[in-house]
């Protein structure tokens, strides 16, 4: 199975690792080069966003993000990402369950389908959804330029996150524990709620955090699909882009800072959760 890039991540098996050694001259130089590259590419540019946002002072920042149109975009993005994440919690766990515990013809094909939203270029994802749910939909469902389009695009791009987080954890759970619970008289629902769900909770939460972050930051799949109508279907990333295009870099940086805060919070949450998962083993 292809646990594409979203598996339990770097820290998952830290418990089994051997104590790391001290830096040698060669590895010290390597670390230096890597840090310079990482700073030039990621750290300095991202701090530039925060510094530029702060450059206009608190009032500048506040007026940028509370601008009526921007505030509407932020509300839509965060609200929709939250709704989509809730759906993913249910559907993602269910999909992971079927992929781990069930065996049927075509399961391998479903495995590949899960990864497609991750690998497909976002602009193509938008086009793909438009072909089935756009103006010439064979079902007669046209969501183009409505809020449902934003919902659909978020649902598509965030599909793999919870599935890929939960799958390996679920595969590790020993079915004997469930049998023991059942033999002690627990119903299937009780077994799930009291025995399985607690072990899955950190994985589901980490996946939900990633799914939320991805939804909030989505841009490409919406370009063709949502129409970017102000107050209706315009998301935060689109707002930032139009500020950039109008050469209002300070305003763009202010709104971008909000997205950045969400990204960093999610990153920390996932890191903490994965550390907890690896301790449980």
């Amino acid at each position: 199975m292809a646990t594409v890039a979203l598996g339990t991540g770097p820290t998952a098996r830290l418990r089994r690792s051997v104590r790391p050694g001290h830096l040698t001259t060669a590895s010290g130089v390597g670390l230096g080069v890597a840090m310079i590259w990482f700073s030039l590419l990621v750290l300095i540019p991202l701090s530039a966003v925060v510094v530029t946002a702060a450059g206009g002072g608190w009032t500048g920042f506040w007026s940028s993000v509370t601008n009526e149109q921007t505030a509407a975009a932020i509300r839509l993005t965060v609200g929709m990402a939250a709704v989509v994440t809730l759906i993913n919690v249910v559907m993602g766990t269910l999909i992971a369950w079927v992929l781990v515990r069930d065996e049927f013809f075509g399961k391998r094909a479903l495995e590949v389908l899960i990864d497609i939203p991750f690998a497909l270029p976002t602009i193509v994802a938008g086009l793909v959804l438009l072909s089935l749910y756009g103006s010439d939909s064979p079902f007669g469902i046209d969501v183009a330029n409505t809020r449902s389009a934003v919902f659909l695009a978020f649902l598509f791009v965030t599909l793999p996150f919870i599935v890929r987080m939960v799958q390996p954890v679920l595969a590790e759970i020993d079915p004997e524990v469930e049998q023991a619970a059942a033999s002690l008289g627990a119903s299937r629902f009780t077994t799930f709620r009291r025995v399985i769900l607690p072990s899955l909770a950190p994985a589901i939460t980490a996946g939900a955090a990633l799914s939320f972050a991805r939804g909030v930051s989505e841009y490409g799949s919406l370009v063709l699909l949502s129409g970017n109508l102000p107050f209706r279907t315009e998301v935060t990333s689109v707002r930032i882009l139009s500020s950039v295009e109008n050469n209002n870099l300070a305003g763009a940086a202010s709104v971008a800072t909000i997205l950045l805060v969400i990204s960093v919070a999610v990153m920390i949450a996932v890191e903490v959760l994965q550390r907890r998962m690896s301790r449980r083993g």
């Binding site: 830290l14 300095i44 602009i123 793909v128 299937r188 930032i240 950039v244 940086a253 971008a256 950045l260």
Partner: protein, 274 residues
């Protein structure tokens, strides 16, 4: 496991199976297959059309070159960082390990904006100095490469780190005690063990790099025949009512990324068996 499966009520299992299959069909399989049908709706004319359009060919070539350069950079950087994170102790190691994953959750538009703020030619932090030295970053190929490297940065690291942690250092220490140098130990012991993880990382980075859209849109300037990449062509063609061209270009990009996914899903179980 088999017993547990037998205990599960069949009706419920079928309901779950049906829900999941329907959901994935409506959300992924259905839409993707329709794009294939749209592409070949008029036979091969649309694909021929883009193959003969010099601007599209240029965009595709640019996309491929940028993706290859980015993958090489991310592979070297990814393997290096993974080794440092797993094998060495240094101040800020945990912080670095967390920050390496950050690009996964940053909006592509924010990535583009951040690069413009630092490397923009007119009022970026470093941009004017670099431009005075005759090196244009933003609205030129270097920024497209940087944006692409940024968004695909964690993919190799996330594949390689767990494998390095799993195998431990015994073999490397044995090689060292037998007199092998650092380079020899890396080439003969470490590299073979992480080989498949690196391959997955490369394949995933390639898919991600070919498809980057938002970040590239901000930094590239989108100049026809110069800095317009394949994903930007899809948008431009669609908005200019050239649906055939848009679908054909999208089909090309989609087939590469789907091929990447299929390659990963085929080679991974083989490695697990061995």
């Amino acid at each position: 496991m088999v017993e547990a499966r037998r205990r599960q009520p069949t009706a419920l299992r079928w309901v779950f199976r049906a829900i999941v299959t329907t959901y994935l069909f409506l959300l992924v399989a259905g839409p993707v297959s329709l794009v294939v049908r749209h592409t070949f709706a008029e036979g091969l004319t649309d694909l021929q059309g883009i193959a003969e359009d010099p601007d599209v060919v240029h965009a595709l070539r640019l996309t491929v070159v940028v993706a290859l350069v980015s993958v090489v950079i991310n592979t070297v950087f990814g393997v290096g960082i993974s080794l440092l994170l797993v094998r060495y102790e240094f101040p800020g190691r945990r912080l670095l390990s967390a920050f390496v994953n950050l690009p996964l959750s940053v909006s592509p538009i924010v990535v583009g904006l951040s690069l413009v703020l630092v490397y923009g030619g007119r009022n970026g932090w470093f941009g004017p100095t670099l431009e005075a030295a005759g090196f244009q970053v933003v609205f030129a190929t270097p920024a497209i490469v940087m944006a692409t490297v940024f968004v695909a940065l964690p993919l190799v690291v996330r594949e390689v780190v767990p494998v390095l942690q799993e195998v431990g250092v015994e073999q490397e220490q044995a090689a060292r005690s037998l007199g092998a140098g650092s380079l020899q130990t890396f080439r003969r012991i470490t590299l073979p063990t992480i080989r498949w993880a690196v391959v997955y990382g490369v394949v995933l980075s390639l898919a991600r790099s070919l498809g980057e859209f938002g970040a590239v849109k901000v930094v590239s300037g989108n100049v026809l025949g110069q800095t317009r990449t394949a994903t930007l062509v899809v948008e431009e063609k669609y908005l200019n009512f050239d649906q055939g061209g848009a679908y054909a270009t999208a089909f090309l990009l989609a087939s590469i990324s789907v091929a990447c996914i299929v390659v990963v899903s085929i080679i991974r179980p083989r490695e697990q068996r061995s």
